[in-house]
């Protein structure tokens, strides 16, 4: 059971972080060679699908992470490097807290992109709009795109940092 939970947890992180790296390293690069109208279509389609993968992966990470913590016993920890203790007085406990906070921030970022930023980019001007309204609408979409780009970068760096923090648990925690 512990192996299955650990595997689902690792698979969740792999899909989430690997997907984020791939989207940044590959999709952003491919976009540079495409006409802007098609960039918008590809972004809408890939972003729409990716957000569900990211949210699903984060959900799996959260549920399996919590289950693993609840199943963790002192005897499990005793044989590990650094003699960790699940307490805030120990590096292991503090690192777990940092990971939990990181998960909350990542979930917040992905949820805000899925339910707020991404729909904000999909706004289109209507025929009954005045030129000023069309300009304002375009500005809003431009702002939404630049916000989205900043959040995507923050999400990418934070998720990679969380993998490093998680890796430190095998040595008894980070700090």
């Amino acid at each position: 059971m512990d192996s299955v939970l650990a595997w689902a947890h690792a698979a969740g992180w792999a899909v989430y972080v690997g997907g984020a790296i791939t989207m940044e390293f590959i999709l952003r690069y491919a976009q540079k060679t495409m006409p802007p109208s098609q960039v918008a279509v590809v972004c809408k389609n890939s972003g729409g699908r990716y957000r569900w993968f990211a949210l699903g992966a984060l959900l799996v990470i959260g549920v399996t992470g919590l289950a693993m913590v609840l199943r963790l016993s002192e005897s499990d920890l005793a044989g590990r490097p650094g003699d960790p203790v699940l307490s805030l007085s120990d590096a292991y406990g503090r690192t777990m807290l940092l990971l939990s906070l990181g998960w909350v921030v990542l979930a917040g970022i992905v949820a805000s992109m899925a339910f707020w930023m991404h729909p904000a980019q999909a706004r289109r001007s209507r025929p009954d709009m005045t030129p000023e309204e069309i300009q304002a609408e375009r500005r809003r979409v431009g702002i939404a795109i630049s916000r989205m780009n900043r959040l995507l970068k923050a999400e990418l760096y934070l998720s990679i940092a969380m993998v490093a923090v998680g890796a430190s648990l095998r040595q008894g925690g980070l700090f």
């Binding site: 192996s3 690997g18 997907g19 390293f25 495409m34 993968f53 490097p81 650094g82 590096a91 890796a167």
Partner: protein
């Protein structure tokens, strides 16, 4: 104050006193790189197969082909980088766990095939070899077929044959990618089981 002393001061300032021990830092570094490489391999394959490929179908075929080629070429760099790092850091981690040695007989007693740990590591290595072989097939057989261009002198039957060959190659790339995802997830399951002594 030399560089090492300065590093030490910075680490102490940050409250990371335990990191004075270089071996702990190396263990974490190898684990981190290993985990990231596996994540890039699995997550990248999932994103390519289930996010980027369907997104390509939303744009005109000619542009989709250009995008497909760009994304696939770049993804292959990620795949080979990941496979290389997985093997390298996996070997280094085993060496740090004193399961491997650089001198004969190379393997510790725990790594022999009579133990679950050794059998699990062997299974993971076999899966890595399968992933590398599939990577070679995609890189050197299927991708060149997909990227092949037709000249203006190509006959109608030649065009039809080339298109058939490209469709067949694309189908095989899709099959191999899906197989690779399942194989890599199986390797990950075997990998996490090593913490409790192995699975096989």
């Amino acid at each position: 104050m030399n560089v090492l002393d300065w590093d030490l001061v910075v680490f102490l300032e940050m409250g990371l006193r335990k990191w004075k021990d270089l071996s702990i830092g190396l263990n974490v570094l190898y684990s981190f790189i290993h985990d990231i490489a596996i994540a890039v391999y699995i997550g990248g394959a999932v994103a390519m197969e289930y996010v980027l490929n369907p997104a390509q179908r939303a744009i005109p075929p000619a542009q989709a082909q250009v995008m497909g080629q760009k994304t696939a070429d770049r993804f292959l760099w990620l795949v080979w980088g990941s496979l290389g790092l997985i093997l390298l850091t996996g070997t280094l981690r085993l060496e740090r766990l004193q399961m491997l040695d650089w001198e004969w007989p190379f393997f510790s007693d725990a790594m022999t095939l009579s133990g679950s740990y050794g059998r699990t590591v062997l299974a993971m290595f076999i899966i890595w070899c399968i992933l590398a072989i599939n990577g070679l097939i995609i890189t050197f057989v299927l991708r060149p077929r997909l990227a092949g261009k037709l000249s203006t002198r190509t006959s109608a039957s030649g065009v039809a044959a080339a298109q058939g060959s490209k469709i067949q190659a694309a189908t095989w790339v899709e099959r191999l990618t899906r197989f690779d995802i399942v194989a890599a997830l199986t390797a990950a399951l075997l990998g996490v089981s090593l913490a409790s002594g192995g699975m096989l």
